[in-house]
C-alpha cells in the first residue's frame, strides 16, 4: 500500500511540474494523469475511464490564479483510491470532488511562501547581479509546491485506502444512487464555467447550432468540432475588418 501511495504521489508531482517546469501545455488534467495512475497501479483501462469521466466534470475548471478546484490532487487521489480499492467510477467522482476542494488550501500556503520567501530573495539577487541564484529561484516556487502536493497525495492515498471502503459502505444505497445521479448532471457546471469565458449573446446562434447537431443529427464530438471550424472560417472571411480609429 505504501508503494502504491508513492506511485500515485509521483504522478501528482509530475502534474505539478508539468505546469511549472514544462510549460503548462494544458495536459496536467484528469484525462492524462488518471491513465498514468492506472498504468502504474496495473489497471490502465480503469484509469482511462476515470480520467475521461473526471475531465467531463471538470472541463470548465481552469488552472489560472485562484482556482475553485485543484484538479491534479483531486484526480490522482481519487483515481488511485478507486483502483486500489476497486471502486466504481461514480464512487471515484464522489471522492474527487471534496479532495479537489480541500487541496486548494495547499495552493494558498505555497503562494504565501513564494511571496514572503522567494520573491524578496529574487529582489536581493537582482540587486547584486547574482544570476546563479535567479536560475534556481525561478524554479523554486514550483518545487515547494510539488513537494507539498506530493506529500499530501501520499498521505491521502496511504491513509485513505484503509478507510475509504468502510466510509463508502456506511453510506446508504439510496444516497449512493443519488450521488451517482448527481454525477450525471454535474458536467453542467463545467459547461457553465466555459460559457463564462466565451459566451457572447451575439454568437448565441452558433451555440444553438452546436447544441442541435448532436441532438438531432447524431454528430459525434469530432464532427461538432469540425462544424465549429467551418463556422469560424465563414465568420472570419465574411466579416469585414473594423479598422481602429487613431
Amino acid at each position: 500500500m505504501i508503494l502504491q501511495a508513492f506511485l500515485v504521489c509521483l504522478v501528482a508531482v509530475y502534474g505539478r511540474l508539468e505546469q511549472g517546469w514544462m510549460g503548462q501545455q494544458m495536459i496536467a488534467r484528469p484525462i492524462w494523469l488518471c491513465p498514468l495512475v492506472g498504468l502504474l497501479l496495473g489497471d490502465f483501462q480503469q484509469g482511462v475511464i476515470i480520467g475521461g469521466s473526471l475531465e467531463l466534470i471538470w472541463a470548465g475548471v481552469v488552472q489560472v490564479g485562484a482556482t475553485p478546484t485543484e484538479v491534479v490532487t483531486g484526480s490522482t487521489v481519487a483515481c488511485g483510491l478507486a483502483i486500489i480499492n476497486g471502486l466504481s467510477v461514480a464512487e471515484a467522482i464522489t471522492i474527487a470532488i471534496p479532495v479537489g476542494l480541500l487541496a486548494t488550501l495547499i495552493g494558498e500556503v505555497n503562494n504565501t511562501i513564494t511571496i514572503t520567501v522567494w520573491s524578496p530573495m529574487a529582489n536581493r539577487a537582482a540587486e547584486v547581479g547574482d544570476t546563479k541564484k535567479i536560475w534556481w529561484l525561478g524554479l523554486a516556487g514550483c518545487a515547494t509546491q510539488a513537494l507539498m502536493y506530493g506529500t499530501a497525495v501520499f498521505l491521502a492515498v496511504s491513509a485513505g485506502s484503509a478507510a475509504v471502503n468502510a466510509v463508502i459502505e456506511s453510506i446508504p444505497q439510496i444516497v449512493r444512487d443519488g450521488l451517482s445521479n448527481a454525477s450525471a448532471i454535474l458536467p453542467a457546471v463545467g459547461i457553465g464555467i466555459l460559457m463564462q469565458y466565451s459566451f457572447d449573446i451575439k454568437f448565441v446562434g452558433f451555440f444553438l447550432l452546436g447544441f442541435l447537431l448532436p441532438t438531432y443529427l447524431e454528430f459525434g464530438s469530432v464532427a461538432v468540432a469540425l462544424a465549429g471550424v467551418g463556422a469560424a472560417l465563414i465568420y472570419f472571411f465574411l466579416k469585414p475588418n473594423e479598422v481602429e480609429d487613431d
Binding site: 448527481a182 452546436g210 472570419f236
Partner: protein
C-alpha cells in the same frame, strides 16, 4: 554593430520559457521566471556587471500572460535589449522595454486564454473525454495531440516572430482589425463546441413513471418528445446564469450534489 545575440543565447532563452510558471508569486506572477529566461541574453549583451544588474532589475517585475505566448514576449524583449545594448546615440529609452511587456501581456492573455484554455483545450476535451470515459485510449491520445500541436507551434513560431519585428506585426494586425476578428472567430468555434458538448456530457436521468388510465406515463419520454436534451440544456444555462450572478462554483457543485440525492430519494431521478 557591437554585441549581437546568436542562435545559442536565443535558444537558451526559448527553452527557459517552459519554466514560466516555475515560481508564480502574487506580486510578480511570472516575473522571476521571465527574468530567469532572459538571463542568457542579458549576460551576453551586458558583460559589465553594473549594466547587467540594471537589466536584471528591469526584468524583475510583474509579468503574466498565457504560457504559450511567453516566447513571443521574450522574443520582443530580446530584440529590444539587443537594440539598447548597441545604441550609441543615447536615443533608446530602456523604460520602453518594460512598457512594451506591460502593454503586451494584457491583450495576449486575453487572446491566449480564449484560444488555449477556451478553444484548443475545450475541443480536445470535447473530442477526447467522451471517448476516454468509454475506456477508449484514443481519447487520451487525441486530447494530448490537440493540445500539444497548436501550443508547440505557437511557442516556437511566436518566439521567432517576436524577435523578428513582432511588435510591428502585432500593431499592424491590431490596427487593421484582424486581431479582433480572429478573437471573435475563436469565440464562434468555442460556442459551437460548448453547445455541442451539452448533449454529449450532461445527462439528466429521470425514472419517474406512473400508471394513468390504460397507459404508462414516462416523464423522460414526454420531455424527449418536446425536445431531446432539453433538461441538460436548461440546466447548463441555469448554471451559467448563477455564475454570472457571482455564485461561487463550489456552492453550485454542492447544490447539484444535494439536488441529485433529493431527487433520487423522492423518486424523480
Amino acid at each position: 554593430m557591437g554585441v549581437s545575440l546568436t542562435k545559442k543565447e536565443l535558444n537558451s532563452v526559448y527553452w527557459r520559457h517552459y519554466q514560466a510558471l516555475g515560481c508564480y508569486s502574487y506580486d510578480k506572477q511570472q516575473g522571476i521566471p521571465y527574468l530567469r529566461a532572459m538571463l542568457p541574453a542579458l549576460q551576453k549583451l551586458y558583460p559589465e556587471q553594473d549594466k547587467l544588474i540594471e537589466a536584471m532589475k528591469r526584468h524583475n517585475t510583474m509579468f503574466n500572460t498565457t504560457c504559450a505566448f511567453v516566447p513571443f514576449c521574450l522574443g520582443i524583449s530580446c530584440a529590444m535589449e539587443e537594440e539598447y545594448a548597441n545604441d550609441e546615440s543615447g536615443q533608446f529609452n530602456p523604460d520602453s522595454i518594460g512598457a512594451v511587456k506591460i502593454a503586451l501581456m494584457g491583450p495576449l492573455a486575453g487572446i491566449g486564454d480564449s484560444f488555449f484554455w477556451g478553444t484548443f483545450r475545450l475541443i480536445a476535451c470535447g473530442v477526447g473525454a467522451p471517448l476516454a470515459a468509454e475506456g477508449n485510449v484514443l481519447g487520451v491520445i487525441l486530447y494530448l495531440l490537440l493540445n500539444l500541436i497548436p501550443s508547440t507551434l505557437t511557442r516556437w513560431y511566436g518566439f521567432k516572430l517576436g524577435y523578428n519585428g513582432g511588435r510591428q506585426f502585432l500593431a499592424r494586425i491590431q490596427a487593421d482589425g484582424t486581431l479582433a476578428k480572429l478573437t471573435d472567430a475563436a469565440k464562434v468555434l468555442a460556442m459551437v463546441v460548448i453547445g455541442g458538448m451539452i448533449p454529449q456530457i450532461v445527462r439528466f436521468p429521470l425514472s419517474l413513471t406512473w400508471e394513468m388510465g390504460g397507459g404508462t406515463f414516462v416523464l423522460a419520454d414526454v420531455l424527449n418528445g418536446i425536445m431531446p436534451n432539453l433538461l441538460p440544456l436548461l440546466l447548463s444555462l441555469f448554471v451559467y446564469k448563477l455564475l454570472m450572478k457571482g455564485t461561487k462554483v463550489n456552492y453550485i457543485i454542492f447544490g447539484l450534489l444535494g439536488f441529485g440525492i433529493v431527487m433520487t430519494l423522492i423518486g424523480i431521478m
